[in-house]
Subunit: 310 residues, 2 copies
């Protein structure tokens, strides 16, 4: 198996200025795996209750996502999150969180998961991320985290960063982690902890990639309407890691293209509720937006020579 | 003369977390002309008092900026602005504004200014922008504006937009002008008023260019420290218009490169107080950052093909 993710599989209730859903498939592990499935074979380590129905399992099946490592807790209820977005869709307001079976989640990676070539540690308790990483033989491991863990256990977050190859976070998290308002100084500090790559997501402003000797930055895909941003970050990570898993070697050039595929996948994710848009996506649609990305960022390199003035 | 700007020539007092200056050369017309002078012959239409000393005139002379259309009001005092930046350098807090001779400024373009191939209307009273535009024979006219005019006389701002070729504003101004939170919808609305091009500046997040059939977006030049952002927007516009003035034809490709040169010039401007950094800039330094821009935004266009999974 080429790519494994450990993360939440959940039900979400979401309200945006454009509509609402009372209960739909969500969770970081779900969004990640769905996006990655367009590029590679992917496997999820997670936990659900037996309120998880055939309709939810069917989404995974449709995309050939391996769910052998998703534990089903008999009599348990699946992680549930209810959130609301105001007119400014950048910030989610959490209205309700029921951890349910996720509260005592202990990831139990199978041999197949441990032998996965790439591994993504979605946003879960940093000690669990570290545990899963230490059991893994993966050649390339990336992680996410969030403000809540940085606030309450920054040391453990940093210890986890020290044992991964790539960190994928948003700009507020990067500033908070490094305790440094300038994003380039913050990136340098995080890179000093050891990862080979750092991806900083900036929502509607795009994303930036820092590697040892390289810097790459892209705008976001232009969208006239953002419908529901839930899962956009995990969808980005899924496109990014999924694309890398499809490449024989993880070079700086492959990382750059992975940034584009991550952004493309996220751009689809936000167009409809939850997993709805990505669920029925085609490879042609993905490649079309990839080409558009090239078109909207390309310029000819013609250095300027000042003509002698009259 | 290939490029003319009408705008303020001023004294600024600026305080940032990194230091302060009690009185230094500033003003939109100044920053614009200085940046443009690296690319083309440039002329300023403006007004100063006779407190303007040889030290200030010397900056213009050093860069061969034509000041014949800068009126000197005997016994008058030059426009003075005092501002302060907090740790978040994105927002300037105005502490004091003395319009002085600028209060009754009536631009009097000479024949040379009227015949300039390109014209930039820096941020002044929109009626004055419109007047200068209507007296001009320029082939390409761009304008700036600000929240104050959009608040108090949006109709006049829109009337002025209708008679220019290009609008160069920041994203908050674009949203406010179009009364539309989504930047792509806002851009469409502004383009519908007639301009051929719209540049939206996004500070540390870069800039975007909208033309009839084209969209181009770039990140900002990566800087570990921003010292004084005063004049960054006008410096961007100066690099942008200056580069265009150096080109035989204003094509979409030229506009794209102009975006890069604008960003490069702005990236230097913010590194020191006022005009200090740009004043001693070299063409080699400019071209080096242009090449860096190419390096940090380039990726190979290799469409993805999913291998049949095992």
């Amino acid at each position: 198996m080429s790519l494994t993710v450990v993360g939440s599989v959940a039900f979400d209730a979401v309200e945006t200025p454009f509509g609402k859903r009372d209960k739909m498939l969500g969770g970081a592990g779900t969004h990640f795996a769905l996006a990655a499935s367009f590029f590679t074979d992917v496997r999820v380590i997670g936990v659900v209750g037996n309120d998880f129905t055939n309709a939810e399992w069917a989404v995974f099946e449709r995309h050939k996502i391996n769910t052998d490592d998703i534990e089903v807790v008999a009599g348990g209820k699946t992680f549930f999150w209810r959130g609301k977005y105001e007119f400014d869709l950048n910030t989610a307001h959490t209205l309700e969180t029921q951890l349910n079976v996720f509260e005592t989640f202990e990831p139990k990676p199978s041999e197949e998961s441990k032998n996965s070539r790439l591994l993504f540690l979605a946003n879960i308790l940093p000690m669990l991320q570290k545990q899963v990483r230490e059991q893994s033989e993966a050649e390339f491991v990336a992680m996410d985290t969030m403000n809540f863990w940085i606030d309450s256990m920054k040391d453990v977050v940093i210890d986890t960063i020290k044992v991964v190859d790539c960190v994928i976070i948003n700009d507020a998290e990067a500033r908070q982690l490094a305790d440094e308002p300038n994003i380039h100084k913050a990136a340098k500090k995080i890179m000093d902890w050891g990862p080979k790559a750092l991806v900083i997501k900036r929502g509607e402003y795009g994303a930036a990639l820092f590697t040892k000797d390289d810097y790459f930055a892209i705008p976001a895909y232009p969208l006239e309407s953002v419908f529901d941003p839930t899962g956009a970050g995990d969808t980005f990570a899924g496109g990014f890691m999924g694309y890398l898993a499809s490449q024989v070697e993880i070079t700086d050039d492959a990382l750059r293209r992975a940034m584009i595929y991550g952004s493309v996948m996220a751009s689809f994710n936000v167009e409809e509720f939850g997993t709805e848009r990505v669920d029925r996506l085609t490879q042609d649609e993905i490649n079309e937006r990839f080409r558009n990305f090239k078109r909207m960022t390309h310029f000819e390199e013609i250095p300027f020579e000042r003509a002698t003035s009259a």
